[in-house]
Point group: C2
Chain length 417, copies 2
């Protein structure tokens, strides 16, 4: 592949000839419109036009996946194809936002398609200069959290909302004492009047420092600073000044430009929460594959990125979760990797399969209810997850390991099938 | 409705009892998780929990709209219901990004739903203090464009990409001389190396000023400054200093925080381009209705918002376009309205129906090919659209009006059925 062209891969469904449909995509997203216009010369089209690199039919359907598309004739079919398009970097330059408008703009709306999904993007090398990527990534996060050789085990403050700063801090004390490496705000908790960000930072960091003084290791707390640009900056500085080691953003709430801006000006790892992702991916023939989507946010500079977890409480099948986590660990533009965050319905039970399928311990493993609702309390909940990962890394069956580890045994009894 | 609670309306599809499913939504998006946790007391739930305001079954289906949902039993059905939830403002405060995480976060991913779509949001009055809304809106835009009593007629620079700044400026001269009120960059053209923003502003504004000196009226040009935060600020200032009267952003590329930040610091109308919208709305039981979505961007502060157009080149039915444009003209939080931008496959032909269905001329009517590809050239293209709107506003049939107006006649012959 040429490195000076932007490449994008799609899954399409169309009643037309797939080659013809791919040409419509290329025209619409570069030099064309619904009728030929003066000035769209052959020379200009050659220089600035998007190019159809390949079209491969992969299946067909008797009915359209999305409504209001141009219909197939009687007895006609809707063909599905994998399409690769490319653009000269000259058109949009190394700009994430303008790449998004180019590869994932108006074309979702074209009537020529009864399905259109962006499955992958390849960014030209110029993006590595324009975007510094994650400041900390896997190695930097491990260093700050003081955890090597096993996953970073974490939890989310629950109940998600309704606690005061002091109640949050009291819970943090319990969680840190229970041995957690990482604690985060829920995405529902940022800077509401019920738990204002500044008061939460003050109360929580006091506890974190006290506990660190006792144990010699500082737990990482991801403060959710999702908000307006000026507010996020103020709050990121506040966390840095208070000696905190992580901030969190709801990436879809803040947007690409906001996250990239935060990355440039904030000296802490950015924990990227993908809430809202379901709307972009859950219709199989619309929107985005995570493979494509995560590259935008990694270039923008998140250090951690949520990937769901095995046997999660959501709709997503395990294969998709595994693929997403693997993507996060695949170097982008020759360098950047980010910490995949496995979360949602996680408890001790998924540790062996998670390790078996990912083949690495470079991940964050977050349990909410799986720790906080452990029948013997939070400390036992943390112990059960630690024990499950010890077993997984040692290649020992959970049930076998549980014989000598009562917290794990209690977790298997409470949460197992 | 209480004014201190955030309200959100959804269309859901579920194999469960709809009331039970609505309770899951409320729990997941406020105090609950997949198991009961200590600390989620009745008092806390009462104070901070989301409330199910209403559930109304509206239909059913024998098959799930989205895959991987919890299945209905044998012979079971998937019920569709309209659900209204509410939250105390205490949880998230008057913050657009955190409202988004609350009303449109993880719940799209819940396995309990084979369909979930946000159809409307009602923001508490506190948002009117926190977000100033559009700086210019309908009246301010009309004033800057010097157009009253009829739509602002505009076009998009085509070819979208491939022109140099000088070529763009030459085209702008032709378009202004042809009588256009408004010209915009394409969303594919922002600050690429082939047409750098600063050079384009300089070249285009020189032409705009020369023509304004001649005619006494300055055409409005929307410069697409979509990009990084610092870059957008620099560019907005550049346009202001050069005497320009509008900037454009691809709202999904920049994000809510970026657009709200731009609004606070930029003294020009913001032309909001919604490219990428199709991915969020085209699956009927996923994502967002425009009714809900546009409120976020209007609060963030766009002055103009794209709504597609009648008989557009995209998938969207006319009823949906009309509803979207009407929403833009419905005052939000007691005040703000924005200019609906009707665009996509537009030419003279849709003017009468657009006027008949919207009942107002407070809109921007953009024709790309419908002006630039007019058989007698651009000036005739503009004349044809002006004539069509004269006819529409006077209640005269286009064909009748065309008898005395050769440009309109030529447009009907070239683009009509």
């Amino acid at each position: 592949m040429e490195t000076d062209r932007l490449m994008a891969k799609y899954l399409i469904e169309t009643a037309q000839e797939p080659e013809r449909a791919a040409a419509v995509m290329a025209g619409e997203q570069s030099t064309g419109t619904f009728v030929p216009v003066p000035g769209e010369t052959d020379e200009l089209r050659e220089r600035a036009g998007a190019r159809v690199e390949s079209v491969r039919v992969v299946g067909e359907s008797g009915a359209p996946a999305l409504p209001h598309a141009r219909a197939a004739g009687p007895g006609g079919v809707y063909r599905r194809a994998e399409v690769v398009l490319s653009w000269p970097l000259q058109n949009m330059g190394p700009s994430l936002g303008n790449v998004l408008a180019t590869v994932a703009g108006n074309l979702f709306e074209l009537r020529d398609f009864s399905g259109l999904r962006l499955t992958d993007v390849e960014f030209p090398a110029a993006f590595a200069q324009a975007y510094p990527g994650p400041r900390f990534g896997v190695a930097g996060t491990r260093r700050l959290a003081g955890v090597e050789g096993r996953p970073i085990i974490g939890t989310i403050i629950k109940p998600s909302v309704g606690l005061s700063p002091q109640e949050t801090a009291a819970m943090v004390r319990e969680l840190v004492r229970a041995g957690l490496d990482f604690i985060k705000d829920d995405e529902l908790m940022a800077n509401g009047p019920g738990n204002p960000f500044p008061e939460r930072v003050a109360a929580v960091m006091e506890v974190i420092h006290e506990e660190a003084a006792r144990t010699g290791r500082q737990a990482m707390f991801a403060f959710n600073l999702t908000g307006e640009i000026d507010e996020m900056f103020r709050h990121a500085e506040m966390v840095e000044r208070a000696g905190g080691t992580c901030v969190m953003v709801s990436i879809h709430s803040v947007g690409l430009a906001g996250v990239a801006h935060l990355r440039r000006h904030c000296g802490l790892p950015i924990h990227g929460h993908r809430n809202g992702w379901g709307a972009l991916t859950r219709a199989p023939l619309l929107g985005f594959e995570f493979t494509a989507w995560q590259k935008f946010w990694r270039l923008a500079g998140v250090d951690h990125l949520h990937c769901n977890g095995l046997r999660n409480k959501f709709w997503e099948p395990d294969d998709s979760v595994v693929a997403s986590a693997r993507e996060c660990l695949t170097p982008l533009l020759g360098g950047y990797t980010v910490m995949p965050v496995l979360s949602s319905g996680q408890w001790a039970g998924q540790a062996p399969d998670t390790y078996r399928r990912l083949g690495t311990a470079d991940l964050m493993y977050l349990c909410g209810g799986g720790i906080c609702a452990h029948p013997r309390g939070v400390a036992a909940g943390v112990a059960s997850v630690r024990q499950a990962w010890e077993a997984a890394l040692a290649g020992v069956e959970l049930k076998e390991y549980a014989a000598q580890h009562p917290e794990l045994r209690a977790a298997l009894e409470a949460f197992g099938q």
